[in-house]
Symmetry: C2
Subunit: 635 residues, 2 copies
């Protein structure tokens, strides 16, 4: 059946391409259609034609060169350096024998592409190899290097995976699409282990697959994948909305458990997710509570990941089309829009979202082509969950920093590695650059640095304001001189004994990591300040300090020592990556078209119910608040 | 793991039985524990001991003789006739080599059993074979004969089935029973194709599996068995509440589709269900719209059926215990009480039920040992669904019959074969016997006779009043001389041309069958009466007549003839086998203990919602009204 579909497509392509073009092969590679040709240069000169063809076929099209026209690598490298201007700062060139692509990594990838793709076309014309152009991050990222290496080394396997997947996706549908339903597998009436399962007569899709890091055992930590309708071997696709572990942390387990299909997400989500998954495995290993999967499965996940840009419409099953849209929560965070069947039903799963402009990101998207069912988060869905404005939060932060520095103290900000840390960096950089705060070193400890490196590799995903700064004004706040990466214990001791400074360190709730070490060193001096900018869970040290505890017993090399807390403790609200109650309600008002049904998830029991009933009362839209393990029919 | 359980049980048995008893073997046979012994007479003399043992082991115990002590069949027959009094009227004796049982069929089985089982014990003591005593129905039933023959012929296969099942049921549970959920597979927000699917971490149970006979195609006729969580090969049990096709009609398909496990129901349900399933296949075949299963699968169903009495507590899965209770709807109809895990959760699925005393049956049971979730029907759940009393309905019926007979007319009562027909027979017999109506022949046409025969085979399931008449006063209304079985067209013509009479014939809505033929013959004579006692579906001829149509075009041998309706058309409400609105509300009030949650099913969309919201408003019990394909968590 696939072959029939493919035959049809081939015929259309042959009719539409200039007669001179020699098409060697046409095949599916994941959701994309790949045309192998002996005249890649002719095709690349006819960009409009290809775009039109893609639109008419409703497929993404990739042009590759036939093996016979490839230039010898050594010569090709020379040629590339001839064609590409020096200012592009190429850092690496490698060749992929399997896909006949040349992978060019450069600090200014735009200059390798050229105006409207002119330089890139020039390359393919001259050397045969189709250029795949990647950005060299201004701060080097171990994770991105690792991912790129994995993909390079497993190119052949990946091509096989994509080819099989392509055939599966482009099958004709077997059954009539007369129903669609959602099963709550995790993260309903709770926060953590988000997992939503979409089923139609023709396909099965998992939306997010997270862990609850605060869970006490398997039963509270992991999603209910033992639900009878779920089987990893007949799952069609996994969609990950963003990298936080409560949305992505259990994906490696799927591969351990027999899943062999694709993961769809944005590029930053893939990178950050890999970072957090590896860290999670590490921590669990160190705490001697190993997870039910390991690094091998993270690697398998990388090999199976297909990255999508916002707005890119992609077939992910014979009857389902996915489009990701900006969610404003963290870098690369997305809302998933699913178009089911021949448009019988459209749903949006928001994941976590922020419906407000932040320093880092644009607010969440509200316009969709069609929309019947909306599944939305409710982290701050309670009546009382109204947060101060961003502006107010920034002023509070600056005031605290200013006061502390003036008295010669240090500021410790325990912060989660991804999202809020970078938001704070942008704020601090601006206030220091503009002289509102005197120049002071900002120490970036632990994983935050790596997460920031990933941010610098994906500037396209940042807010318009930051993109303007980076691309047009040549000013990237993340690589400012004020930021110092902390390497090891010696440097930490220097910081503690040194001049006033600002320290950003994980973990965000002082439950471990270096932030706890800094706390021990800094807490007994009343000049210093501890600033909380994120949620402190019940039971965490952070929460205790917020409650005013002044004597903190902590284990140290087997003994317990009591720390007397003299440093100033400050909580600043308003930096959240989640929409507050007003923003959630406003989002429902603004989202267009108006959904027929709203499912509320990702919130404490009370908040979920409160938001759902408020939505119903205010907007008269049917709401549902399923429990984990419940199934709701949406069509 | 089974063997460990069994070893434990064996040890207990050995300790408790008198030392003289030689136990040859102990094994599971379906939900029962079978003890094979060389001294069956000793055990049977210790009835109290066995009862106590059963209670302590929480297992049903059956005693069988070891092969070595069996008397030769010919001699055994002689001996049985010696022991059993002539008045028992033995009609058949056969020997089951596989189970070492002697099957004795008798018109008065009570006399074969004897006082407190004394005669039965005498038999085993003398011949070794354990007697299995069956009632010979006073009206011979083809279906019961057929079922008994099938079971006799397949004794070996059945033993194997039961043995395997026994091992499955008595396994230790694999997972912790921390959730239970119900999926609506059919018959929710509608009437027809009832099917409810219970899942726990350890087992999967189907409650009812019906068809919608009014359905227009596969999608509207059959339950959604293609729901992803359902797979016939890992289903543990099927429970059938009663024989109506909207609850039992799709069971044969399960066997076609790969199911190989047990069906639990009462004995009358098995018999009536077989009757209706075979008839359904027949009709579909004649109408050239064959069903997706055939007689072979009905046979397979018979071989896999395990009959239970009301109140008999039975293990049906490692974590589930089933008890059936009288539902008052039709003969053998049951409510299913399920005890899940170690009592973590208890649910009752009502099936169809009548919460009112009728001529035929006692009202539905309201007391259960424990109850958290109640799943109840809502056929007459609308505010307006209030029916006249039984008493009033009977008076109306008698008045109509009296008037019609006096003017020399005939009374045609189109009626469904099972339930209402027998209810009317009991009413008619009483009024004629007591002289309120002059003696007049009552003709019983088609399947009604066979269904009545099954009623006479299972008097234990009838109302107390009828049981008293039959057992203590020796008077069985069903075998009264006033009832005449109609055999073939000639007899029908005689009836039409003969004296005034009452005719009970299927189908109940004049949609086909002999009732339609009678209608054609009788409708143009104004002396005759047509009496509707049951629901007439939209679109049926019955409904049209109720609406007052006076000219009815009907196909006859290819041509259309228009019948002018002159006969009197009468509708009598109050004979329904379903609870009316008041009875449904009263049932919720009376059911004990008070459930925490009520799911409403088996009703039109509006009636389901209306009853659910009335229950919530009146009793403040949480109600749910799932759609087909939705899943609700109950624990
Ligand atoms: Zn998040
Ligand atoms: Zn989250
Ligand atoms: Zn019924
Ligand atoms: Zn029914
Ligand atoms: Zn079998």
């Amino acid at each position: 059946m696939v072959s029939r579909v493919l035959e049809e497509i081939k015929k259309t392509i042959m009719q539409r391409l200039p007669a001179r073009v020699q098409v060697a092969k046409v095949e599916f590679e994941g959701p994309e259609l790949v045309i192998y040709t002996k005249n890649p240069e002719i095709i690349s000169e006819n960009g409009d034609l290809i775009r039109e063809l893609a639109k008419d076929l409703r497929k993404r099209i990739i042009i590759r060169s036939d093996r016979s026209v490839l230039m010898e690598p050594e010569k090709a490298i020379e040629k590339i350096h001839e064609i590409v201007p020096k200012e592009a700062e190429i850092t690496n060139i490698s060749f992929d024998d399997v896909t006949c692509e040349v992978i060019i990594e450069a600090k200014k990838p735009g200059l390798v592409i050229g105006k409207y793709g002119s330089t890139s076309r020039e390359i393919v014309k001259n050397i045969g190899w189709a250029p795949k152009i990647l950005r060299t991050p201004p701060i080097s990222s171990e994770i991105i290097q690792r991912i790129r290496r994995t993909l390079r080394k497993n190119s052949k396997e990946r091509k096989k995976i994509l080819h099989q997947l392509g055939n599966r996706i482009h099958q004709e549908t077997k059954y009539e699409n007369d129903w669609a339903r959602l099963t709550a597998i995790g993260g309903f009436r709770e926060v953590g282990r988000s997992c939503l399962y979409l089923q139609t007569p023709n396909s099965r899709i998992l939306l997010d697959c997270g862990v609850n890091v605060a869970g006490t055992d398997e039963k509270t930590s992991y999603p209910f994948l033992n639900v009878p309708e779920f089987a990893p071997d007949n799952l069609d696709a996994v969609i990950i909305t963003h990298a936080h572990l409560d949305h992505s942390g259990f994906v490696p387990y799927l591969y351990h458990y027999g899943y062999d299909g694709p993961v769809y997400c944005t590029t930053p989500t893939r990178d950050l997710m890999t970072l957090l998954q590896l860290d999670h495995i590490d921590i669990a290993y160190r705490e001697e509570q190993p997870l039910p999967f390991n690094v091998k499965h993270v690697k398998k996940c990388i090999k199976h990941t297909i990255t999508l840009d916002y707005g890119e419409v992609t077939d992910i099953a014979p009857d389902i089309r996915l489009t990701l849209h900006n969610a404003g929560h963290i870098l690369g965070s997305a809302m998933a829009h699913l178009h089911i069947g021949d448009g019988q039903h459209n749903m949006v799963y928001t994941g976590d979202f922020k419906y407000e402009q932040s320093r880092l990101l644009e607010p969440a998207v509200t316009r969709f082509p069609r929309l019947e069912t909306l599944v939305m988060e409710s982290t701050y869905g309670g009546k009382e969950d109204v947060q101060p404005s961003r502006n107010h939060a920034e002023k509070e932060l600056i005031k605290t920093i200013y006061t502390t520095l003036r008295r010669g103290g240090k500021i410790l900000i325990p912060v989660f590695a991804v999202g809020r840390a970078q938001e704070l960096m942008v704020v601090l950089e601006e206030y220091i650059r503009t002289g509102i705060i005197h120049e002071v070193p900002v120490y970036i400890d632990g994983m935050i640095w790596e997460a920031t490196a990933i941010h610098t590799a994906r500037p396209e995903y940042l807010s318009k304001d930051l993109r303007d700064q980076i691309f047009h004004m040549g000013h990237n706040p993340f690589i400012s001189d004020i930021f110092h990466k902390v390497n090891g214990m010696d440097e930490r001791m220097d910081i503690i004994e040194g001049e006033p400074s600002i320290i950003l360190s994980t973990s965000g709730m002082l439950t471990g990591g270096n932030s706890l070490e800094y706390f021990k060193w800094l807490c007994e001096n009343e000049k210093n300040s501890l600033v909380f900018v994120g949620y402190q869970a019940e039971g965490s040290l952070g929460r205790r300090l917020q409650k005013g505890w002044k004597e903190i017993p902590l284990k140290e090399e087997g003994k317990t020592r009591v720390y007397k807390v003299k440093m100033d403790i400050k909580t600043i609200e308003g930096f959240s990556g989640h929409s507050d109650r007003r923003q959630l309600m406003e989002y429902v008002k603004r989202v267009s078209p108006r959904p027929e049904k709203i499912l509320v998830c990702h919130g404490d029991n009370y908040k979920t119910l409160d938001l759902a009933s408020s939505i119903y009362r205010t907007y008269k839209i049917e709401t549902k608040t399923p429990l984990n393990l419940e199934t709701v029919r949406i069509q």
